[in-house]
Symmetry: C2
Subunit: 203 residues, 2 copies
């Protein structure tokens, strides 16, 4: 992905991909208008989303089905597997470990960590839960550069500092705090409550 | 909330609020620069975020501490409780029911629903899990107009249709599908995997 894509566009790409695959054909053409009608969306939006991928639509004929599927898969990185680790095997962490959606984007959670001895050693969603002390070794071995933080707010910064020391370059943070990271490390925050609050304000 | 606030700004407001409260004083003034320095943020960003609230900053003196706290609380709706319901008491649903962050925005999950008989009747995070058949009665009784959808993708649209029929006006959707809703009903999608994928693309 070279151009910065808005998350709203990115999360529609797997929806297009699933729809195209459900048609069961890789030859022939399909127009952005046909995709839009099938999914109940605006045609301009579909065309704009698909323009982020390497797919080439042609005037009148639209996209070649097989090429469009391949272009979206290439863009999403479905053809490689990127390892990621997760910190905090509490309720949310365990839910994420059991969540199948990451593979839509070629990402695989390969290890989890928790400070609580009772949780370590278990396997959740196919991932072993390790103690924090094993972080450096496991992150090094798996080559993970992506991490998910699901620990309580008051320890999130400390966990983040450890992750950065272990070579993590990007953090998806679910703890409701603003993490401080050195330049070159990216953080995205998901505050589920803030999203609900925005909806609440629109009622 | 009258002006549309970006979710990134909104999720910083509880952080400012917690910091201001931690100072333990409601008299005296505080500048946006002092808040920015304490939280490791840019001053312009702090001022821009606070401008969404009814707080009035004054040149040189800044904000009155007590007034700023009250303005953020008023804006976030901390002084009222807005009931919300949750559909799908699986791993993610149970994690959200146990998550304390909603009260930062004056929102309370008051009931959960699941189609699986084994899950109904239980209490998770203080919420009773009801069968779907009880939805209309419970939503009517609680007056909830906000709902959270955490069901699998293939049943999310059906659940959403039921919610709309029961008078729900806003839906926070965690299922990786685009929900179709009638005009006047708002939906926000949280695709956790898409957020991780954006980070992955920046490594």
């Amino acid at each position: 992905m070279h151009r910065e894509i808005p998350v709203t566009s990115l999360q529609r790409l797997p929806v297009y991909l699933n729809y195209l695959k459900s048609l069961g054909r890789t030859d022939g053409n399909i127009s952005s208008g046909a995709i839009a009608r099938a999914l109940g969306m605006g045609e301009v939006l579909v065309r704009k989303d698909l323009a982020y991928t390497p797919a080439h639509g042609r005037a009148r004929t639209g996209y070649n089905c097989g090429e469009l599927i391949a272009a979206i898969e290439e863009y999403l990185g479905c053809n490689r597997v990127l390892p990621a680790v997760l910190f905090g095997a509490g309720a949310l962490g365990r839910a994420l470990l059991s969540y199948g959606g990451f593979k839509n984007y070629g990402i695989e959670l390969v290890a989890a960590f928790d400070c609580c001895e009772e949780k370590t050693g278990a396997t959740v969603g196919g991932c072993t839960v390790y103690p924090y002390a094993a972080a450096r070794e496991v992150i090094g071995r798996t080559g993970a550069r992506l991490a998910v933080i699901c620990v309580p707010a008051d320890v999130a910064q400390e966990v983040c500092d450890t992750l950065v020391e272990c070579g993590i370059a990007a953090v998806l943070n679910f703890a409701p705090v603003l993490l401080k990271v050195p330049e070159g490390v990216n953080v995205r925050n998901i505050d589920m409550a803030a999203n609900l609050a925005i909806l609440a304000s629109q009622i």
